[in-house]
């Protein structure tokens, strides 16, 4: 008697893919490490007035270049010392994070909006639209970002708004690339074809079917570009064409302390460490999300 080979798999109550992803994210070490650091920085920036009694822009010219508390000449009154103009460094560190983060988030929103719009359009409609957008992308990639940013800021003006606009208008390339390929993969799937067949409007399809399904890669790219934007702002400020006093970011603090490298390296090391920690945290978070949503992409 031939035995029937059993092929039926037991049925399991399936969790929605979103919940599965969320669960896996919460178990991921990098998520907690990166998220933790980022949270600390965010909270510090938001709660700044509670964390230090000093005004970061107030200059006490009698107390310039006081070393941090771990040096013999330091004191707890200025735990991280003071800079060339007598401003409390801890206060400047904490408040400095505000503008860096603000710039980062706003520019990511701008570049994300532009890039996603272009990428989804290219991926969904394909054909000539795709060719055109690809060409625009190539042009954008050919231009040296730092140089262009410098030129525009130098010629147009240096306000915070202009700075954010310029960076936002320059860093959309990776958004486009990623959302384009993600959309291409989505567009041929059955439920999209079905939605088209029943006559759903294009806008509806894009909004309700495609967009929710590309959030995974989108978040990963957003984290990469957030780091990118913050680094670009830091570089611009370092060169003197980023934020202008009285505004300040960590990049500007490093620029101002450039001449002190030999004698008072802590003036550079402290905001430098904060910058590195921020970028590191963002990268860790991005890695965690990528591992959860697309582990095959992992190097």
């Amino acid at each position: 008697m031939a035995a029937m080979v059993s092929t039926a798999a037991p049925s399991v109550a399936a969790l929605s893919p979103g919940r599965v992803a969320l669960r896996r994210t919460l178990r991921h070490g990098s998520f907690w490490a990166g998220g933790g650091i980022l949270l600390v920085i965010l909270l510090a920036a938001i709660l700044a007035p509670l964390l230090t009694p000093h005004d970061p822009t107030w200059q006490d010219l009698g107390k310039r270049l006081v070393p941090p508390v771990w040096d013999t000449r330091g004191s707890w009154e200025h735990p991280l010392g003071t800079d060339q103009l007598g401003r409390d460094y801890l206060a400047r560190l904490i408040y400095g994070g505000r503008i860096s983060l603000l710039i980062g988030f706003v520019t990511v929103l701008i570049s994300g909006a532009i890039g996603t719009a272009l990428g989804v359009a290219a991926g969904y409609w394909g054909g000539r639209v795709d060719l055109l957008i690809n060409f625009i992308l190539t042009i954008r990639l050919t231009l040296p970002v730092v140089l262009v940013a410098l030129v525009v800021v130098a010629l147009v003006g240096n306000s915070l708004t202009i700075l954010m606009l310029v960076i936002g208008l320059l860093l959309w390339d990776r958004f486009t690339i990623v959302t384009r390929s993600a959309t291409q993969q989505m567009a041929s799937r059955e439920f999209i074809v079905a939605a088209q067949a029943i006559g759903s409007s294009t806008g509806r399809i894009l909004l309700k079917e495609i967009l929710p399904n590309i959030t995974g890669p989108l978040i990963v790219v957003a984290s990469v570009e957030l780091a990118h934007a913050i680094l670009l702002e830091a570089a611009l400020s370092f060169l003197g064409l980023g934020v202008q006093p009285p505004l300040f970011t960590w990049g500007l603090m490093i620029a101002e302390a450039k001449n002190q490298l030999f004698f008072r390296p802590w003036l550079i090391a402290i905001p430098g460490a904060a910058l590195v920690a921020l970028i590191f945290a963002i990268n860790l978070l991005g890695d965690a999300v990528r591992d959860v949503t697309a582990p095959e992409g992992r190097a």
């Binding site: 042009i139 050919t142 231009l143 010629l155 147009v156 370092f238 060169l239 490093i254």
Partner: protein, 305 residues
Amino acid sequence: MLRFIAQRLLVTALVIAVTSVVAFSLVHLTGDPAVAMAGENASPEDVEAIRKLYGFDRPIWEQYLTWVARFIAGDFGRSHYLKLGVGEVLAEHIPVTAMLGVLALGFALALSIPLGVVAALRPNTMIDRLALWIAVAGQALPSFLFALGLIYVFGVLLRWLPVSGDTTWRHFILPSVALGYYATPAIMRLTRSGMMETLQSDHVRTARAFGLSRWRVVVRHGLRHAIIPVVSLAAVQLGFMLGGSIVIETVFSLKGLGYLAWQSIQRADIEVIQAILLVIAAAYAVLTLVADILNAALDPRIRIG
């Protein structure tokens, strides 16, 4: 193959052409170039004089075409500040940047490729994790910060290397490291994943089955295949470095293209700025083209098809 090259050449030419329009527009449409060049203390007559001298009063498309025509003929414009031909000025500064770029790339390759290969040979061991950590750390460190750090350690503490100027080859060591390390994570990751894949392939299995030595298996039959995408990536990274050299050159006082760009921006030396923008963009476009061709030339399967 020839058709392939011809096609890519055409696209590259088109890209450079459009980029030139963008570069030109950036400089001429974001403000009044005559005002910028004249400076803060200039009188309206000075501004008008500059406007006439450089033809800024002509229609914009006419200015663009004139610029392009002259460029192709070899006249790259005139530096308002230095009172020299832009071509001359560029010629003085390009070698430094080219040297810096090549050395930086060399450093990145010398560090990342062996690291990537070793990590692929021993996945999930200490050395693999170390390589991945170096990659992550590399991406989190801004280049100017790294540059300052290098100066402090090697210039101040240890006093091994010079930190300013560009007279000897030693002057290029720290700048090359500072510029090149940023490409390290990407190259290392690509080498690692490419090697891991190649080591599973049939022809590597054959090489091992015939008793070939470790080196021959890993390098001649493994790396030879895995390195192909890395070559393209390296060419593209070189392009990035050329554009990003401005920070490094300023920190280390290297008189290269980036340094020149920086000074020209501060001096509103319009003709120089737009020439540099175009040169760097064109270099990047050509490097991408070279990368594509290399990719095709090295991969035997593409060569035939």
